[in-house]
Symmetry: C2
Subunit: 347 residues, 2 copies
Amino acid sequence: MRLLLPAGTTETALIDGISAAGATPELMVQTPSADVEILEYGEPTTAPVTPVSPTGCPTPAAVTRAVREVIDFDCVVIDAGLARSTGAPTVDLGVEAGEDVREFEAVPDAAAVFDRAHGFGSSLPDDEIVIGETVPGGTTTALGVLTALGEPASVSSSLPENPLERKRRVVDDALEASDLEAGDCAGDPRRGPGRRRSGPDDRHGDRRGCTRVRYPSHARRGTQMVAVAALLRHADVDAPLSIATTSFVADEQGDRLERACDRLDCKLTVTDPGFDEGDHVAMERYCAGEAKEGVAMGGALSIVPDGEMGAVRDRLEVVCDRLGIDANGPPRRRGRSRIGTEGGGGS
Amino acid sequence: MRLLLPAGTTETALIDGISAAGATPELMVQTPSADVEILEYGEPTTAPVTPVSPTGCPTPAAVTRAVREVIDFDCVVIDAGLARSTGAPTVDLGVEAGEDVREFEAVPDAAAVFDRAHGFGSSLPDDEIVIGETVPGGTTTALGVLTALGEPASVSSSLPENPLERKRRVVDDALEASDLEAGDCAGDPRRGPGRRRSGPDDRHGDRRGCTRVRYPSHARRGTQMVAVAALLRHADVDAPLSIATTSFVADEQGDRLERACDRLDCKLTVTDPGFDEGDHVAMERYCAGEAKEGVAMGGALSIVPDGEMGAVRDRLEVVCDRLGIDANGPPRRRGRSRIGTEGGGGS
């Protein structure tokens, strides 16, 4: 199993009240770069921020890393538009940072990016891949994709109170800017808000390409991955797909997530990491609804063998210590900017 | 332990008769990109070449990968001037491909590259790092560095007959182009052939920087790593260093390598992978003196625990099969260009 983790930024995340991943624009824009360093090295290295909220909730990258330190798995980070450099190795597909989804062309050169990403993905020798993401504001763009595809749309939030109505207004504006109605992109996943329309030939090329996906994909991180699964199904990909998420997202979503997976013929795996058994502020904050998921946390937790979750929780405490989070108190200052107002590096 | 692997290209490799890594300029320039894909994925993915010589000698990356498949270790590839894209994740330090070492400024913007590389290296949390490289023509630039530092210089070759006199002539031309005499850079490792001279302040900054290296470094791949060790010692770094290489390089070098390590206060580890016990054309070619080392092969072999080398050889056969090399015959055609005239992706 190999984890593919696109990491990027979009100006959508800067819309007021959308994302918890960073208290200021500059901190938000640094979060994915720091997340992937945590994933690779166990702590931020060159990124000047540590994605920990003032209450002591670490980025979900800390949990994914804790799993990696217990059961090692291959991980490839894809630069999906990082606006700031990172010390982690990334696959360069020439992707620029995204603009505001309400722009006419929020993803510059989307068709060429799709082709390069498809070329990269189809080159991999793996029998099984897991897809996660760290893109602040990603739930809003996911909502846009689902709406454009005509899928019943509900997405999660890294904030305890999900600003879903605000996200819906952003998506309405985005569709209008792209001259699209909800459902206009059904069966044509390469169109969408913030992407230039493709012509009939492009659409054909897209479908032909997508059906070459040759392995079962496991799209992780609850609600954003519903959008990924929807894109694949609308592109006529019938390979086995499953969605893995955390109990924190599943609790928030109720049966909506299950219904979405049924509709998209995806297996749903919900993992409860047992943080209520832990005695650490980081776990308490997740139990209180902060961050919830992201950076492939749900996917990583889903592969933890029976009986090993206690070791993951123990390891999370070690990772938290590196990030300057004491078991009980608010995070220690470590000479890096702390980020987030409520959640860690979620979206 | 974490392996850091700078991968890059220089036009030095294109000088006639210097390197075995690629029969044509285009194939040579693709070799490092393919090498790091083999290291990450076990086979080339997006690179259009497979670094295997016509006689069936695979790139040393195949051996390093075989070790990884037996005893997993962390590996970070650094883009040290890749002229062609790669599907492997790399750390981007903004390094351009090197020019011919006989140019006045063969490494564009060398001082800034040094600073970024130093910032990256000193950000890492590891207690121990291993350094390798895949840079065709790298032994020639290493010879240039050693000569400029005034160190007795002998380097290895990926060719069975080491074209050392040819390399020396290239280095003489390089020193002349940089207006340097042999030994002119002793104690001032930031100068060197193909690099612009730095002023006194730069030199001070360099020394201060280098002494901040805080972990024992294990520079692997015989003779190029002697140049790395020499640079560190000339920068007054007194951290423990060791050099790990293969018996193939050690056999070629006689006692010169041991003397170099003594002089630079480096521990020397020579590993014999027992390829003479194998029954595979790839192992036979290494025993015949092809390729010898590279892509951290010596470093990887040096960490193989007692009793596991047989498993590495078995695994190498699996990797070779992926690369289209049958146990007995010449390599199969697999729709990719084969490269090399004599050795694999060495230098």
